[in-house]
């Protein structure tokens, strides 16, 4: 091969590799996006039925039940509530009245089965999603009153 052809071959090969990599990446990306919904949005039926998504808000006071390895609690944005069940050990910072983000699937009965409850590093820290959910609900009630 002449030097020019060699360079061309390298460039074509490189572009092909990049193309394959980009396709791989975007494919995997599309199917693994996890969307976030507030309890109000879930109550309005905006959340997907079979795909996993995240919910966030506050753990309702007095709602936590933990007799078995399955923990049950209620997530609220102060407007709407969603019952959640989670099989496993809850993170250290999980407590009633505090912010929480959970990932899982919504059942036909309106109950949310979480596969993951997100832990936070700092007790004074509110997950941005949970904060946004509560703020949104407050804003909605304010506009209603006006």
């Amino acid at each position: 091969m002449k030097p020019r052809q060699k360079r061309l071959a390298i460039i074509v090969g490189g572009l092909a590799a990049l193309g394959i990599a980009a396709t791989l990446i975007l494919n995997a990306f599309q199917s693994n996006l996890v969307f976030f919904f507030t309890p109000t949005q879930v109550a309005n039926g905006e959340a997907p039925k079979e795909r996993a998504f995240r919910i966030g808000g506050l753990v309702k006071e007095g709602s936590l039940q933990r007799s078995d390895i399955v923990a049950r609690f209620v997530v609220t944005d102060t407007a709407k509530e969603i019952p959640v069940s989670y099989q496993g050990i809850l993170p250290d910072l999980f407590s009633e009245g505090k912010g929480v983000v959970a990932q899982g699937v919504l059942g036909a009965d309106g109950k949310f089965t979480a596969t993951e409850v997100l832990a936070k590093h700092d007790e004074n820290y509110m997950p941005p999603e949970a904060q946004a959910a509560v703020d949104k609900a407050h804003e909605a009630t304010r506009t209603l009153k006006q």
Binding site: L18, I25, F29, F36, D92
Partner: protein
């Protein structure tokens, strides 16, 4: 008084950094020897002043001076001394001060170990480092001074976040920051070379040990973070594709690409522009990492409460650094010579593929990390990208990378032949295939991914061993040769750990009442009960469990659930019985209702998990051998390399 001295030292440091960042640069462009000569003393002065500021903050921590806001927020009179000292970098302000301290330390090191470099080059490198330091000191002074007073002073501090009260805090952040900040040296060398127009083999040779040094620290820092998350957070995972983990992994990937690209630039004079771009990229990603961690934009396990205004400053700083360096690059790059030509089958091509794969991986990780932030910033909704995405993308990119890792060192520069590459490696290939396919049979069930992972690992180690044997027969190879092979074998060891733990681990959260037994791996674990104990600044529930093998006691297990006095937050302290081929991991969940004294208990069995970190240590050791190679310390060789490159460019 002490905090004011610290504050004053920091202001002086800003002035020194501004001098270091301007006069030597201008002097080097115009040829003013007096200004060029300022570079070295300025960097010593800068380090001294920042060290004074850092010492002042440390003194305030040790003396429990709760009239300083930062100390009151991150310490407590009952906090043990080692955590009062490491608590200095337990929060935002202090960790930035640590960042700048590391930067000035690197700058000092460059000044001390650059006797063989031309003075104008040193001046330019120090100038760039001075500008970066000035930016960060300004950031600290404007938005996040750790020396602010609280009047009247607090009675006692709020205490360090219990999660951080761990030896991990003492080592992980300094290591990681040394790595992050270390890429500023590679960046400064690249900018200096662009400014001077001397983008040659000598420049690559000067950059190499510094880049490798930064990479060593980053490798160890990431490894330490992974271990810490594994045992302290009570999760038992070693990597979560968490945005902040990704933020440290991105510069690592690009830095690894940079190390390999620098090899081509030094030996063959090719890839110059590309190497410069990688150096700019690695440092920019370090800055991006700092932004991601410190801005509070992330919903991540690492996201501590923080102030978004600070994020804007870092983002602006990042924009200036990236914008200015790319503009300089666009201006200078067309004048750079292309370097030696090479054939399709050659070491150059293999290293090019290495770079393409590493950068693709970095691009994929960057996409998954930033996309949710961009969507959120544009108000298009909230979403996240889960670990399945990262695994699905990362694995297929790593398989060819690992395969070619064994091939690259065998291939000759400029022109190699496939037969010449295949001949010495055929035994390694045969052994790798045979062992990869057969070992999973003996180990808890055959699996394609384990066969592939083990096969690749054995392939890499086999190829390295064969090359070491054949090379050592004639003469003792240089350190760089050993370093490369040791680092490659380290990757293989990490791969073994990853595939084994991913495929054969068992993770169970179970309800256990006293007397209950649960099986894990070849062991049984019996739960006896939980008792109350008290520590220096916490009370704890301590679990009593027994690890049994075939009914006989191996050891007692004591995981704890701690409650620190100063915080409402409970802390899980996992109990781990580590081993070469498996870890047994138990941690306590919560007491369960039912009145029988039952707790939720996490029981993990993790085969070969320690190999993941062992591999990282080998990689770092390999880097250390490579960076300390004799030829980097010889003055004459640098000059010779310059001549060689001139010839290479001419041919």
């Amino acid at each position: 008084m002490i905090p004011e001295i610290g504050s004053f030292a920091l202001v002086l440091a800003l002035l020194v950094a501004l001098v270091q960042g301007t006069l030597p640069l201008i002097g080097a462009q115009r040829g003013v020897p007096a200004w060029i000569g300022l570079a070295r003393p300025a960097s010593s002065m800068l380090f001294l002043l920042i060290a004074v500021a850092f010492a002042c903050l440390t003194a305030s921590f040790i003396n429990n001076d709760f009239s300083v806001v930062y100390v009151a927020q991150h310490s407590n009179s009952r906090l043990p001394l080692e955590y009062r000292i490491s608590g200095v970098w337990g929060g935002h302000e202090g960790s930035l001060l640590l960042w700048v301290l590391m930067l000035s330390l690197w700058s000092l090191a460059v000044a001390a170990f650059s006797r063989s470099l031309p003075d104008d080059m040193v001046a330019r490198v120090q100038g760039v480092l001075g500008l970066v330091a000035a930016g960060f000191i300004l950031f600290i002074l404007l938005t996040s001074s750790p020396f602010e007073r609280l009047l009247p002073g607090a009675e006692d501090g709020r205490d360090l976040n219990p999660l951080l009260q761990d030896p991990g805090l003492i080592f992980h952040p300094p290591m990681l920051y040394m790595g992050y900040v270390g890429f500023s040296v590679a960046f400064a060398f690249a900018i200096a070379a662009l400014l001077s127009g001397r983008l040659d083999a000598a420049w690559a040779r000067w950059s190499r040990p510094w880049t490798t040094a930064a990479w060593i620290f980053l490798t160890l820092g990431i490894g330490l973070g992974s271990i810490w998350a594994y045992y302290e957070l009570g999760w038992g995972g070693w990597w979560f594709w968490d945005p902040v983990e990704n933020a440290s992994f991105l510069p690592w990937l690009v830095g690894t690409a940079l190390i390999h690209s620098l090899a081509v630039t030094e030996k063959r004079g090719s890839f110059k522009n590309w190497t410069v771009l990688l150096a700019i990229g690695a440092f920019s990603l370090s800055l991006l990492g700092t932004f991601l961690v410190r801005s509070g934009v992330l919903s991540s396990v690492h996201a501590f409460a923080s102030d978004p205004k600070r994020g804007i400053f870092i983002l602006l700083f990042l924009a200036v650094v990236v914008g200015a360096s790319l503009t300089l690059f666009a201006w200078r790059a067309p004048k750079v010579s292309l370097g030696g030509a090479f054939a399709l089958v050659s070491r150059e091509t293999l290293l090019l593929i290495n770079n393409v794969l590493l950068l693709s991986a970095a691009g994929a990780v960057l996409l998954g990390t930033l996309y949710p932030l961009v969507i959120d910033a544009l108000n298009l909704g909230k979403l996240s990208v889960g670990p399945p995405y990262f695994n699905a993308v990362f694995t297929p990119l790593m398989v060819p990378l690992l395969f070619l890792m064994a091939v690259g060192p065998v291939a000759r520069w400029k022109q190699a032949s496939l037969a010449e590459i295949a001949r010495p490696l055929r035994w390694a290939f045969g052994v790798a295939v045979a062992a990869g396919v057969s070992i999973p049979f003996f180990y808890g069930g055959w699996s394609g991914s384990v066969a592939l992972g083990l096969g690749l690992a054995i392939w890499i180690v086999g190829a390295s061993v064969l090359q070491i044997i054949s090379r050592a027969r004639s003469s003792l190879p240089p350190r760089a040769f050993w370093g490369m092979h040791l680092a490659h074998m380290g990757v293989a060891v990490t791969v073994v750990g990853i595939v084994m733990v991913t495929q054969y681990e068992s993770e169970r959260d179970v309800r256990m009442a006293p007397g209950d037994t649960v099986k894990t791996g070849e062991y049984q674990i019996r739960f006896l009960g939980v008792e109350g104990i008290s520590g220096p600044n916490y009370n704890a529930a301590r679990g009593n469990l027994e690890l049994l093998k075939d009914g006989t006691l191996v050891m007692s297990l004591h995981p704890e659930k701690r409650k620190y006095f100063s915080s409402a937050m409970p802390m899980t302290e996992a109990f781990i019985d580590p081993g070469l081929t498996r870890d047994v991991y138990v941690s306590l969940g919560d007491p369960l209702e039912g009145g029988d004294g039952a707790w939720s208990v996490r029981v993990y069995y993790k085969p070969f998990v320690s190999w993941i970190w062992g591999g990282a240590v080998l990689m770092a050791l390999g880097g250390l051998l490579a960076a300390s190679d004799r030829r980097y310390r010889l003055k004459s060789t640098a000059a010779r390399a310059g001549k060689l490159a001139a010839q290479g460019a001419a041919s």
